[in-house]
């Protein structure tokens, strides 16, 4: 497990965090002219890669040109300073959603919770009939699986396709 050394440094958008040759960009950062900058207001975290040499003076311990995988990841997170944070559902995320309406081909759901984050805005998702379960896919009937109002736990399988807004692979149905 990666050792996490976090400092209580507050970063504001546009703040210089370090050169891109010494850090990997994590969430909440961006690269501009081979430097890493913060893009959020939050706390700076530096995640050392496997087996960090020591807690003190971590900047000096980095060898000048290590392979990229060994670079510590620097990230800016809002979780400690704000209880409200929006996250965009990403492929692979586990989400909790409520079924809004069903059609023979798919169930339309509103995503309420993404990972551990309670979402403020409602993102819409689709569970296609072929994604409802892993086996006997051709015998799935949407109306036998879902009813409007159900809370569904699902995994995001696609996000950026313009035609299919979201697709969820159903794997647990908690009929609420």
């Amino acid at each position: 497990m990666a050792a996490t050394s976090s400092s209580a440094t507050i970063a504001i958008p546009g703040q210089l965090l370090g050169p891109a040759s010494k850090f990997q960009p994590g969430p909440g950062t961006h690269i501009h002219e081979s430097n890493l900058y913060s893009s959020l207001l939050g706390l700076v975290h530096v995640n050392q890669p496997t087996k960090a040499p020591g807690p003190v003076k971590r900047l000096n311990k980095i060898t000048p040109a290590p392979p990229p995988a060994e670079l510590p990841t620097i990230s800016v997170s809002r979780s400690a300073v704000s209880d409200k944070r929006e996250t965009l559902p990403e492929v692979g995320n586990t989400v909790l959603c409520r079924v809004i309406r069903i059609t023979p081909r798919q169930a339309v759901v509103a995503i309420l919770i993404c990972g551990e984050t309670v979402l403020d805005a409602e993102w819409q998702g689709l569970i296609r009939v072929q994604d409802v379960r892993a086996t006997e896919k051709d015998r799935v009937k949407i109306y036998e699986s879902f009813r409007p109002g159900d809370i569904v736990r699902a995994e995001v399988v696609s996000f950026l396709s313009p035609t299919l807004p979201f697709t969820r692979r159903f794997y647990a149905d908690a009929a609420y």
Binding site: I12, G14, Q15, H32, S39, E122, P162
Partner: protein, 309 residues
């Protein structure tokens, strides 16, 4: 046609009160002369998180220059989102900004209506340009964000009767404030930005008495000067050293390019001052929230930053 969804009041038209003319010297004593140095901005109060139900929010107040004569600017900004776009919207690989600036009915000398007028639409589109340059738009595909600013009190001279097109210059100050407050609210909402953008205004003015050389001042108040020849409002990213929006207005000879760049330079200086206020306010609010305490929103302190150095 009257809007039946509001309480419209009397059928006959009403007039704002007309005041009797005061004796000349009394009025002259009230008329402001700029007491700040040409490179000083007025005091600003900026506070984030004033609207807890929004994703992000901020309140900006610029002090009134003199008691009673000129009102300060009071702006309240809320940011809603990122949220999913409506179903009718076509696919977008990046975040879609929508800005909305509205004066409150009691914000200015004349009562404002509830329907947005062209001035307010103009402010909204300038604001959108200014913010678009600061936001990392492709971090949030298929999303939209609403940025709404209510101008609770406009930067208007209450007493002066001579207009000299003051409305246009007031708009510049309003836009600069809008950019600053929206930038703080965006940071509060956690929307990725390359930098904290801030607004600043500089103007080429001619003062009463001396008709020799016009001078450049930052954060101008129209009523404090005999005449404003030109003004520019910049939205500036200090760490990137980039201007995201430049709005220039006035009457300058085309030959004197030096004057243009000087004016923009001073606008950047004003914007740096505003940026400092944003940074301080964000740092303080973040420190306040750090001990994992939930904010109840009832007891909030005002933080004042003195920029008159």
């Amino acid at each position: 046609m009257t809007d039946r969804r509001r309480v419209n009041g009397p059928v006959g038209s009403t007039n704002p009160p007309v005041f009797e003319d005061e004796p000349e010297q009394e009025f002259g004593a009230q008329k402001g002369i700029r007491t700040r140095t040409p490179t000083a901005t007025r005091k600003m109060y900026l506070k984030t998180g004033v609207t807890p139900s929004a994703s992000g929010s901020a309140y900006l107040e610029i002090e009134a220059s003199r008691k009673g004569a000129v009102s300060g600017l009071k702006l309240s900004c809320t940011v809603h989102g990122p949220r999913s776009l409506p179903r009718s919207t076509p696919f977008s690989p990046h975040i879609i900004l929508s800005t909305h600036v509205k004066y409150a009915p009691f914000a200015t000398k004349q009562r404002r209506g509830y329907i947005r007028d062209p001035t307010e639409r103009d402010l909204g589109s300038h604001l959108e340009t200014a913010l678009r340059g600061a936001i990392i738009a492709d971090r949030w595909p298929k999303s939209g964000v609403d940025i709404i600013i209510s101008i609770v009190e406009g930067d208007h001279d209450r007493e002066t009767s001579k207009s000299q097109g003051g409305e246009a210059w007031d708009m510049m100050n309003a836009l600069s404030g809008c950019i600053t407050v929206a930038s703080a609210a965006l940071a509060d909402a956690g929307i990725d930005c390359v930098d904290t953008v801030a607004g600043g205004v500089a103007a080429l003015v001619r003062d009463e008495g001396d008709d020799t050389t016009p001078r450049i001042v930052i954060d101008p108040i129209p009523s404090e000067h005999e005449q404003i020849l030109a003004a520019c409002c910049v939205a500036y990213l200090p760490d990137r050293d980039e201007i995201t929006n430049l709005w220039f207005k006035g009457d300058l000879p085309a030959s004197d390019m030096e004057l243009y760049s000087q004016l923009v330079e001073k606008g950047i200086q004003a914007s740096r001052n505003s940026n400092e206020v944003i940074v301080n306010s964000l740092l303080i609010s973040t420190r306040e929230q750090q001990p994992h305490e939930r904010h109840d929103g009832t007891t909030r302190m005002h933080i004042a930053f003195n920029l008159q150095r």
